[in-house]
Amino acid sequence: MTSPATKPQDREAPRMTERTTPQFLGFTPARAAFFLVFAAVVALSPLVLYPIFLMKIYCFIIFACAYNLLLGYTGLMSFGHAAFFGAGAYLCGHAAARWGLSPELAVLSGTVFAGLLGLVFGWIAIRRQGLSFAMITLALAQMMYFIALKVPFTGGEDGIQGVPRGHLFGIIDLSSNTALYWTLAVIVLAVVALYNRIVHSPFGQVLRAIRNNPERARSLGVNVDRFKLVSFVISAAMSGFAASLKTVVFGIASLTDISVNVSTEVVLINLVGGIGTIFGPVAGSYIILSLEHFLSPYGPWLLLIQGLVFIMFVLVFRQGVVGGLQKKLKSHL
C-alpha cells in the first residue's frame, strides 16, 4: 500500500492542465465526458441488472468518494471508516424504525451523526501522521465495533431490522424499487458532481498542496491541521450519508456495516479504481461489488479471488484502472 506521506503516483501523474483547459463546476471536457458516460450507464443499467444490486453499488460509490477525498486528495490513510459507515447506518436505521422519521430526515440524522463522530475522531487522529494516524483510526473504529456489539440500541447480532423505506418528502413512495432506484441514481450523480467540485475548488487545491508537501503548505501560511480536520469531517459525513442510503435500501443496519471488512473494502475499491482520481471510486465500486455479487455462489473462494485482485493491482496496476487511463489520456480524471 502507498504511504500516505509521499504518493508515487503524484510524481507520475500528468502535468497540471487545469489552468489552461476551460472548466465548468470543476469539469474539464475529459471529466465531463466521463461523467456523461457514467450518467448513461446509470440510466440504462436497470434494464439489464437487478436494481437493488445497482443501488448497493451507488452507496459504495458515495462511500468510496468520501474515502478518496481523504486518501487521494488529502493524503490521509484511515483504516477506521467502518466507524462512520456503521454509525451512519445505525442512527439512520434507529431514526427511521424507532423514531418514525421520514427517510430524508433519517438519512440526514445518520449523516450528521457520522460527521460529528468524524469531528471527534479527526481531532484525536490528525495529530499524528502516516502509520500512527492509520492505527489510531483503526483503534477507534474497533472501539466503535465493540460498542455496537454491546449496547442494546444496535440490536447486537440481530442489528436494527425492519427499517421502513417510507415516503420521500412525504410524496414519493420508496417501497417500489423503481422509485427508489431513480432517487438513488439522482443522488449518486449529484454526489459525484459535488465531489468533483470540492476537489477542484480552491479548498481542494489546498488539500492537494497539503497532500503533496505538508511542510511547504504550512510555510505558505496554510493552517494544515484545520484543513485536514475539515476534510476528515466531510469524508466522515459522506460515509455516514452512504451508509444511511444503504440502510434505507436494504432495510437493515447490522454489525457488518461497522466491521473492519468495510474499512478494508473501501481501500480495495479505491486501489482498484485509482487513488486520487474522481472516477476511480466509481470504477472500483463497479468492479469490486460485481466480483462479490457474481462470485458469491463460490463462498469462501471469493476471499481468495479478492486477495488475488488486490495483489495484482498492487503489483501491476499501481494506479488503478482510472489512474492508468488518466496517464494514457494525459488528463486528470
Binding site: E157, G162, L255, P297, Y298
Partner: protein
C-alpha cells in the same frame, strides 16, 4: 470442490429459468450457513434432505419442474436479507427453507410478511412464533421454550436439582438460558450460577472451574457447535463430575468431540436415525448420497420439503397463503411414522425423544451414539398458545 460445481450448476439452471416467465414452477430457496460453525449440522447436509424430498416427487409437481436455489447467508442478517430479497424480486421463489440463524430469520420474516412467499425456518428464537410470527412462516425446530423444557424436565424428574449455565454471549444463548431458567425454577429445581463465553472463545477452563466450584449437579450448555465440543473435551480432561446437559447436540458433534467426552449425557432430540425401521431405511437412503446418516436438522428438511410439495400438489398452485393453510390443516408425516401438526403461530407440535449417549463400550462404531430412553409428548413442552404474543393467535 465437487459441491461447488454442483451448486454452480444449480444456480446456472436457476438463472436460466429466471429469465423465462417462471410463474408456474416450484422454486425452493435454500438459504443456510454453508460455511461456519453450524454448517456441519445443516449446510450441505440439509440441502441433501431437500433433494431427497424432491426425488420422492420425481423432480416435479403437477407437471411443473422443481428448482432449488442455494444461498449462503454467512450467519449475517444483511447478507441473508439481500439474498432473500433478490430471490423474491428476480427468481419468483415460492418457499424459503432452513434460514438457520435467528438474526437472519427475523430479518427475512419482516421482508416476507406481505409477500407471496412461505418460509420454513430452522432457527429457534421464540420471537419467530411470538411477536414476529407470520401467516406464511413455520418453525421446523423446537423453539427455545420447548427445547429448554424438553431437555431440562426429564432430568429434574430424575433428580438433577442444581443447574449451572455456560452460555454463548449473544442473543441465542441468552434467550435459551432465560427459557431454561424459567423451566428449572418452575419445576422446583435451582439455578446455582451462570457464566458467559465470548463467541471468539477457544478456552473454557475458567468457566468449567467456576461451574465445578458452584456444586452444580448439571452444567447446562446454552451454546453449540465447535464451542460445545471444546467445552465437553475440556470437561473430560478436568474430570468435571457434574453432568453436561447440552441443548443442541447432533451426532456430528459427538463424532467430532468423541464419544469418550460425551458419554452418558442426557438430552432430548427431534429425530435419531437408529430409532426404528423407518428411520433406519431413511438413514440408509441419506447415507447413500451423503456418506453419513442424517442428523435431526437434516431430517426435518426432508419432512418439511415433502410436506410443502404435497401441499402444492393438493392445492394445485404455489400460492403461499393457500399452501401454508393446507400445511397447517394436514398433519406432517414424520420419517419415524409419527405425525406432527403446525399451529397458527407457526410452531410445530411434535413429539421429541429423550436420549442418553452411549458409552464407548456400548457403541458399535461410528454414528452409533444414542439410546432413545423415552418420548416427551408434544403438548407437555409446547409454549402454551394462551400466553402467545403472536398477533395471529390473539387476533
Amino acid at each position: 470442490m465437487k459441491t461447488y460445481w454442483t451448486r454452480a450448476a444449480v444456480l446456472a439452471v436457476a438463472l436460466g429459468a429466471g429469465s423465462a416467465p417462471a410463474w408456474a414452477e416450484v422454486t425452493i430457496g435454500y438459504l443456510a450457513a454453508m460455511t461456519g460453525s453450524t454448517a456441519d449440522m445443516t449446510g450441505e447436509a440439509g440441502l441433501h434432505g431437500v433433494k431427497l424430498a424432491i426425488e420422492d416427487f420425481g423432480g416435479q409437481v403437477n407437471g411443473e419442474p422443481i428448482t432449488v436455489l442455494v444461498g449462503d447467508h454467512l450467519g449475517k442478517p444483511d447478507v441473508g436479507l439481500s439474498i432473500a430479497r433478490e430471490w423474491i424480486d428476480q427468481k419468483d421463489v415460492n418457499i424459503l427453507m432452513n434460514v438457520d440463524n435467528s438474526a437472519v430469520a427475523l430479518a427475512v420474516s419482516d421482508l416476507i410478511r406481505d409477500k407471496d412467499v412461505a418460509m420454513a425456518m430452522g432457527s429457534s428464537t421464540s420471537k419467530l412464533i411470538g411477536e414476529s410470527c407470520g401467516p406464511n412462516q413455520m418453525m421446523m425446530l423446537l423453539d427455545n421454550t420447548a427445547l429448554a423444557r424438553a431437555v431440562v424436565l426429564p432430568q429434574i424428574a430424575a433428580g438433577s436439582d442444581k443447574w449451572f449455565f455456560i452460555t454463548v454471549d449473544y442473543a441465542l444463548g441468552h434467550d435459551l438460558q432465560a427459557q431454561a431458567t424459567k423451566a428449572i425454577t418452575e419445576a422446583g429445581a435451582m439455578v446455582v450460577g451462570s457464566t458467559v463465553h465470548s463467541p471468539q472463545a477457544t478456552d473454557f477452563s475458567a468457566q468449567l472451574l467456576e461451574a465445578q466450584a458452584s456444586g452444580a449437579t448439571n452444567i447446562a450448555l446454552a451454546t453449540f457447535g465447535a464451542w460445545q465440543n471444546t467445552i465437553t473435551k475440556q470437561a473430560q480432561e478436568f474430570g468435571i463430575e457434574a453432568r453436561l446437559s447440552p441443548f443442541y447436540l447432533a451426532d456430528t458433534d459427538i463424532k467430532s468431540a468423541g464419544l469418550d467426552a460425551l458419554q452418558n449425557v442426557s438430552g432430548a432430540i427431534q429425530f435419531y436415525w437408529d430409532q426404528n425401521d423407518a428411520t433406519r431405511a431413511f438413514a440408509e437412503r441419506f447415507r447413500a448420497g451423503f456418506g453419513r446418516p442424517p442428523v435431526f436438522t437434516n431430517a426435518y428438511m426432508y419432512e418439511f420439503t415433502r410436506h410443502y410439495l404435497k401441499g402444492v400438489e393438493a392445492v394445485g398452485s404455489t400460492d403461499a397463503a393457500k399452501v401454508t393453510e393446507w400445511m397447517r390443516q394436514n398433519p406432517i408425516e414424520m420419517i419415524n411414522g409419527s405425525e406432527a401438526t403446525i399451529r397458527a403461530d407457526g410452531y410445530t407440535l411434535r413429539d421429541v425423544y429423550s436420549y442418553r449417549t452411549k458409552t464407548p463400550a456400548e457403541s458399535k462404531g461410528d454414528w452409533d451414539y444414542l439410546e432413545i430412553t423415552g418420548t416427551i409428548a408434544a403438548d407437555d413442552i409446547a409454549p402454551p398458545l394462551a400466553e402467545s404474543t403472536c398477533p395471529l393467535v390473539k387476533g
